[in-house]
């Protein structure tokens, strides 16, 4: 597949000279996705589920086809796909509903310092309210989660394991399949934050056997405001809804109501129709590109990037052994925020900050890091321009000393 041709699908690459290396935050959106949104907004634009006219029927159909597409992507049942506002909402749904109902005082919840705040904080809240204990998998010298270290903190009190599949700050792939297997021997429920995994590699929930898994559309060429919670059907069925109102009900009495089956009982009110339809288009787009190509491309570029950065003096890479297209570094003596302004002048879009992973920043002993994150549409030229920008930043600030 030809990257130059792929890049034609993205307005910014056609019309701007930008180097976009902030893909872990959000990816750009291809024309196919924008077209799908426009189709809905122009030709339908109506509500779903409740209409008995053709437009509404077509909108409903497209919305539910999006669910079917997600089910196909994850290899799960149609009814196991709950649409949410994003990964954060999805993970909060698990904690608020499953967590609050099943965690008791003294129970332990295993998580890690490598988590995104959205994977950690919902469980911090459950632990606080329920008087349970958060337990952190000790990270190894590279700051990785390992199966060995996971075993060390597993106890008979563990009730939930909440871990990322790929760290958004370090790009490590968690050995989640082995962890799930071990957890299940003790009937422990495992919640997987797959926000950085689903966009970049095939994820098969049947094969992983995870209990819950979450991801966002906007990190995989899809629209903002849409994400997915996958949950095993029998778990979802047992869970209480956390939002109540239109569409999620069966019968409504004045003081008692009954709710629909999963997934609908978790989707209150008018759904995020357009964004779900856009997510379907995004998945189809990625399927056309192919995950083989995505992995190949990202691997090639990551190797090139790490190699080129290692040639530079005065640059510290925090994860030289990253498994994915996420590379964290700092320029010695230059605050990441200062460096970022130089990158911006060079039209290199890259992130400086704590990447919603403050606990990890403490482990790294950094207030912030610079993160370059790749996607299949990036090129070696992008990396060359990043390297030039780093050199310029160094030169520029050295000038002042």
């Amino acid at each position: 597949m030809d990257v130059q041709k792929i890049r034609q699908d993205f307005y910014l690459f056609k019309n701007d000279n930008i180097v976009y290396l902030d893909n872990a935050a959000s990816t750009l959106k291809p024309k196919a996705v924008i077209d799908a949104l426009n189709y809905y907004y122009e030709r339908l634009g109506v509500n779903v589920h409740r209409g008995v006219y053709k437009l509404s029927y077509e909108a409903t159909d497209m919305y539910e086809q999006a669910r079917a597409k997600v089910a196909e992507l994850l290899n799960c049942q149609f009814e196991e796909v709950v649409f949410t506002r994003g990964t954060s909402s999805a993970l909060n749904l698990v904690a608020s509903s499953y967590g609050m109902a099943n965690i008791e005082a003294g129970d332990e919840i295993i998580t890690s310092e490598l988590e995104h705040h959205s994977s950690l904080l919902p469980w911090q809240q459950v632990a606080k309210v329920k008087n349970a204990k958060l337990v952190f998998v000790p990270l190894d010298e590279d700051l990785r989660i390992t199966v060995e270290n996971f075993k060390k903190v597993l106890t008979d009190k563990t009730k939930v394991v909440a871990l990322n599949y790929i760290s958004n700050a370090m790009g490590y792939i968690t050995p989640i399949k082995e962890i799930i297997k071990i957890a299940h021997e003790k009937k422990i429920v495992v919640v997987v934050d797959a926000a950085q995994a689903v966009p970049h590699m095939p994820v098969d929930v049947k094969e992983l056997d995870c209990d819950f898994l979450a991801f966002s559309g906007h990190k995989m060429c899809g629209p903002t405001g849409i994400g997915v919670l996958y949950g095993k059907y029998n778990l979802l069925q047992k869970m209480e809804p956390i939002e109540f109102g239109g569409d999620m009900i069966d019968y409504v009495g004045l003081n008692e109501s009954t709710y629909k089956d999963a997934p609908y009982k978790f989707e209150t009110g008018t759904p995020i129709i357009a964004s779900a339809i856009g997510l379907k288009a995004a998945i189809e787009y990625l399927q056309r590109i192919g995950f083989n190509f995505i992995i190949e491309k990202e691997t090639e570029l990551r190797k090139y990037l790490v190699e080129k950065m290692q040639e530079l003096d005065g640059v510290t890479i925090f994860n030289p052994h990253t498994d994915t297209g996420i590379v964290a570094f700092n320029i010695d003596g230059v605050h990441p925020h200062d460096a970022a302004s130089v990158f911006d002048e060079e039209n290199v879009a890259i992130r400086a900050g704590h990447h919603c992973a403050q606990p990890l920043m403490h482990c790294l002993k950094q207030v912030a890091t610079i993160r370059a994150s790749l996607y299949f549409y990036n090129t070696k030229k992008d990396i060359d321009r990043l390297i030039i920008a780093i050199k310029k930043a160094k030169g520029f600030f050295d000038n002042f000393i």
Binding site: H335, P336, H337, D338, A340, S341, V342, D344, E345, A352, G353, H354, Q358, M361, V367, A368, K392, F396, F397, F400, I401
Partner: protein, 150 residues
């Protein structure tokens, strides 16, 4: 290679205040008004202390960690407003905020070294860095005024 914009952002005087900050370090004196502000996104963490005698800011200290813009701005702020009447300090503060936002501002008003932060207007993403010290000052004055009125 030209760094026009960047150079106005990081003028020598800014880098000088960054490397050799004035009035840095806190004082353990309860009569000072003290404000602590943070910007978690980039890790900026700043404390500002002011002493007010007869409506004059007689002393200023600051301490913290952060990027060159936020740290130098704290130094510049401290130098600029030390010795000013409260009402003048407020005017400078307002003028400074307008300037770094890229809005019209009073070029005649005394601003000390603070005038060199004009370049920030081209870097809206750095607005927070350039203003954290001044926002802390604003809060400190606010606390003073509240106490004064009660």
């Amino acid at each position: 290679m030209s760094y026009g914009n960047l150079e106005t952002l990081y003028r020598q005087v800014i880098m000088d205040h960054y490397k050799n900050p004035r009035n840095k370090g806190l004082i353990g004196d309860e009569t000072y008004y003290k404000v602590h502000l943070k910007n978690p996104t980039c890790g900026d963490d700043l404390t500002v202390q002011i002493k007010v005698v007869d409506n004059i800011i007689t002393d200023v200290f600051h301490d913290g960690t952060g990027c060159s813009i936020s740290m130098s701005a704290a130094s510049v702020m401290s130098e600029t407003i030390k010795g000013q009447k409260l009402e003048d300090a407020k005017k400078i503060l307002k003028n400074y905020l307008q300037m770094v936002k890229g809005e019209a501002f009073d070029e005649e008003l005394f601003m000390g070294d603070a005038i060199v932060y004009q370049g920030v207007a081209n870097f809206p993403a750095r607005f927070k860095c350039a203003t954290i010290a001044w926002k802390a000052l604003d809060k400190a004055i606010f606390i003073h005024d509240e106490e004064d009125n009660s």
